[in-house]
């Protein structure tokens, strides 16, 4: 299955891209995240939330959408 992963803020600085298309065999968000972490080691120390098809989900959610987004908090003002 192909899925688009979008990165925001500091996350996109670590991945050096705002989005990418991944061919995945993982079935849950947690498993997909394991894979993303192995690709981008530095993400491990970052705080972020995950959205599937533009809706925040938790780690146990099954992947059934076409777009995943990694969303960090911003504090600036």
């Amino acid at each position: 299955m192909r899925i688009t992963v979008k990165y925001f803020g500091q996350i996109s600085e670590i991945t050096q891209k705002e989005e990418e298309v991944l061919e995945i065999y993982e079935t849950s968000i947690a498993q997909l995240l394991d894979r993303i972490y192995s690709k981008y080691e530095k993400l491990k120390n970052k705080e972020f939330k995950i959205a599937q098809n533009r809706e925040l989900v938790d780690m146990n959610t099954e992947i059934n959408g076409s777009e995943i987004a990694l969303l960090p908090p911003f504090a600036g003002g």
């Binding site: 705080e47 908090p73 600036g76 003002g77």
Partner: protein, 365 residues
């Protein structure tokens, strides 16, 4: 009412709507990059009571984006300098300046005097304080935050809707997210984000359009993309904020964020009988752990297996990479179970470490 003619001739606003604006009381936290455009548009729109709280003073690096100030404001308190500029912009409204920091001690009494709170602060400690105070005093909170070329906008606690903690339950660790003063920000970005916040304020006052509740709007100034992400209310989390309302005034604002790290490396663990190792992976996951006392509590069943947590022990949770164990620790902390840590390393590294150090570990036990 000539001043507000362009509002009044809009059928969606009219004289009735303009009266609602004149009777509204809005408190703006911070008169910096976000606060300036928020204040400017709300004052121009005729918000009847406009509160400004900021302890900071204007410096030269602020003028690149904080558009209420000029050379003559340098060195002056921002709340007072903003008030003086806004009084000239609109002398028909009441502007109240609080040249002091927002704290756990003054927040509740201040919020109670207003209908809507707008967050234009620049650090996580204040943002969580503002969120919790808005929940306790039951005020809608118009949120905006920026990072380099990107902004986030939402409305929290609107008609008992989701809050900031429903989005990000706990403050990130100190210094993990740099601030504008350390990394820079495109000057026009807070102008755009602050204007969007002012727009949400006016929609709430007027009761028109769809208020940005339960949605986080993410704006990217470089590619002009807007992404709207939905999120739900976390009832337990909100109830917990309300439960702390009695002790709220006793808390201290720690601008470094008062979170102690809950991540730990096995190198820093003494494997004695005071610790409980907990595997939060699902049962069929590989590798299986060595012959060493380990409790299995899959993350998916965490809340129904709390009795497996041995009292008076330090709970060390692990999974394949450290993601789910961190999730589990966050969830346990929400349940007020604090003696838990997420292992930085994954199951296979832990297995290897236990194998290599089993003899030493046996002695520690």
């Amino acid at each position: 009412m000539e001043r507000y003619n362009r509002h009044i001739i809009l059928p969606e606003i009219g004289q009735t709507g303009q009266d609602k604006i004149s009777n509204s009381k809005v408190l703006v936290i911070g008169a910096g990059g976000l606060g300036c455009p928020i204040l400017q548009y709300l004052a121009a729109a005729g918000v009847g009571f406009l509160g400004i709280i900021d302890f900071d003073t204007v410096d030269l690096t602020n003028l690149q984006r904080q558009v209420l100030y000029g050379n003559s404001s340098l060195g002056k308190n921002k709340a007072l300098a903003a008030k003086s500029r806004l009084s000239d912009l609109n002398s028909d409204i009441n502007i109240i300046a609080y040249p002091e920091p927002l704290t756990y001690q003054n927040a509740l009494d201040l919020f109670k005097q207003y209908d809507i709170v707008v967050d234009g602060s620049d650090n996580f400690a204040t943002r969580y304080l503002v969120n919790d105070a808005a929940v306790i005093t039951n005020k809608p909170l118009v949120f905006g935050a920026i990072y380099k070329f990107e902004g986030q906008i939402s409305v929290f606690n609107y008609k008992h809707g989701p809050t900031y903690r429903c989005l990000f339950p706990n403050p990130p660790e100190a210094h993990s997210v740099p601030n504008c003063s350390d990394i820079g920000v495109l000057g026009v970005l807070p102008g755009i984000v602050g204007s969007m916040q002012a727009n949400e304020v006016l929609k709430i006052i007027l009761g028109i359009g769809d208020v940005l509740s339960g949605k986080l709007l993410c704006y990217n100034a470089l590619n002009a993309q807007i992404t709207s992400l939905k999120f739900k209310k976390h009832e337990k989390g909100v109830a917990q904020i309300l439960n702390t309302s009695n002790s709220f005034r006793k808390k201290q604002l720690d601008l470094d964020c008062d979170v102690t790290s809950n991540r730990i490396s096995f190198k820093d663990v003494i494997f004695d009988h005071n610790i409980q190792l907990i595997d939060v992976r699902e049962e069929d996951e590989q590798p299986k752990m060595l012959d060493y006392p380990i409790t299995n509590i899959p993350l998916s069943r965490l809340e129904s297996h709390l009795s497996k947590l041995e009292p008076n022990k330090k709970h060390i949770l692990f999974c394949q990479s450290g993601v789910r164990s961190q999730m589990a620790v966050n969830r346990l902390k929400e349940l007020q179970i604090n003696s838990c840590f997420s292992l930085e390393e994954g199951a296979s590294e832990l297995n290897q470490y236990l194998k290599e150090n089993l003899k030493i570990i046996e002695n520690e036990r």
